[in-house]
């Protein structure tokens, strides 16, 4: 498992306490899980994603991510409609481990309230929550 200073946490993303990240992408946002989350889970074997068209509020569960011995729920950082899901993850769930911020993205949403992005944690805020839990 990685030490805190080994974690990759891009500056231009925002984070949640539940270890999701959000990034502006076109008119919407892309969402995935952080390097901390993938490191803690270990080898990811399956990702369950919602259907395109589903509309979910912030903090609602949108899917699950499984490693061999654990299941973790995935929660919406912002409210919105699912525009796209990363279909590559069905055959290659390991992308979440190897490239959690780029190839391992999970869903793309059209936000209901784009301002919600501002109230998410910055990189330093997120690091605080991890340090606190450790």
């Amino acid at each position: 498992m990685k030490e805190i200073d080994e974690l990759i946490l891009p500056d231009d993303l925002r984070y949640t306490e539940d270890h999701e990240w959000a990034k502006p992408q076109g008119n919407g946002f892309r969402i995935g899980i952080t390097d901390f989350a993938q490191d803690q889970l270990g080898d990811i074997v399956f990702v369950e994603l919602p259907r395109v068209g589903d509309t979910l509020p912030a903090k609602q569960q949108f899917g699950t991510v499984e490693s061999v011995k654990t299941v973790a729920e995935l929660y919406m950082p912002l409210s919105g409609e699912i525009l796209a899901v990363n279909e590559l993850l069905e055959a290659s769930p390991e992308l979440v481990n190897s490239d959690p911020y780029e190839k391992g993205w999970m869903v793309e949403i059209k936000p209901e309230k784009p301002a919600e992005f501002e109230s998410l944690l910055s990189k330093s805020g997120y690091l605080e929550t991890i340090r606190g839990k450790k």
Binding site: V45, F46, E66, V68, K69, T70, V71
Partner: protein, 439 residues
Amino acid sequence: MRYLPHTKEDIDSMLQEIGATSIDDFFSTVPSCCRRTQGMNLPGPLTEWDLNSRLASLSGNSERKVFVGAGSYEHFIPHVVTSLAGRSEFVTSYTPYQPEISQGTLQGIYEYQTLVCRLLGMEVANASLYDGASALAEALLMAIRITGKKRVAVSRAVHPHYRQVARTYLGPSGYEFIELPYDSSGTTDLSSLESMDSFAALALQSPNFFGCIEDLGTASASAHHKEALFISSFTEPLAYGILKNPGLAGADIACGEGQSFGISQSFGGPGLGIFAGRMKHVRSMPGRLVGETVDADGRRGFVLTLATREQHIRREKATSNICTNNSLCALTSAMYMSCLGGSGMRELALLNHDKSEYLKRELQKAGLRIAFQSPTFHEFVVEFPPGFESEYKRLLKNGIVPGIPLSSYYPELVGHYLICVTETKTREDMDALVKEVRP
């Protein structure tokens, strides 16, 4: 007592080493309000020799000719199966959570899963459930999970106990349980299906409780036409040594009882819940799954896999609560299937069928009415004339059990008896039975 190795010296030495004065010290955390006020009132202890006598007298005499099936079948069990299944490395091991020292069980169950798939024409089978009844209940719950619909349709020709168990499982969640009637041919009447509101699954049993072979293909198509899953249940897997299998008919789930495959009847249990489905639904399947993989040196090995469906990880969101299943029975059935082989299965199935046909025709010649005209496998329903009950009792006293009366299960079938013939009955046995029951 020979199962308790500690001598007084052992106990004293152990207590001394850890600084305790008596075993009672360790129970200091048990409040007195929780303790027994008196010793346990139990018989024994019996010596091994007295135990043998006691059990011998309880087990009694078993010399009888039993022409009964109805979910439990008398088949010859090759001694080689009993001998191999009795090896203590199989018997005294537990669930293979540590795969490196459980490769025997794991490969054995992987082979079992594969043989079940081949027999039933399905894509994936689990490592066992408790019995055919709970397997049907789990299949219905799985269909409800997959489709999101809250209603199921189950044929009345499915084993009455299986329907009772399914109702018990489905009851608390308020799912609707619709029973479809059977018609005069002895098979399920699907005509009400078309006008039924959306439902999760249609479940039939074939051969059904009356021994009649159902038209699985038509049932499957009807279910799919209504966007429901088709569940094909069975109590006698040997039938698939000859009959078209559920997979060919398009079943989404095939489930039933595997006791016929090398497992003693044992007064109803332990049996074997066989459960098979499609790969696309595998993450909704209950029960354990053994998968193939490689070890650190690249050698083939087997492990329990997709465990995230199960209770120890998913807890209240698990696909089932099952933990201990019927693993040794599954292994036993694989041993039995290996003994038979595909050709042997076919030959034995035909023998069962033909013996049953022989008895059926002899009873007809003797003037008795066969209730249903549909083709049967090795069970069929006979109607005996009024007053047969006293004959039945007389035959029991002579150690012959000529079927079971159906009226307690199907009140409209008074005087009807379900008779089963397996390879264990000789022509002489059958001729003797006909002689006794002819009107």
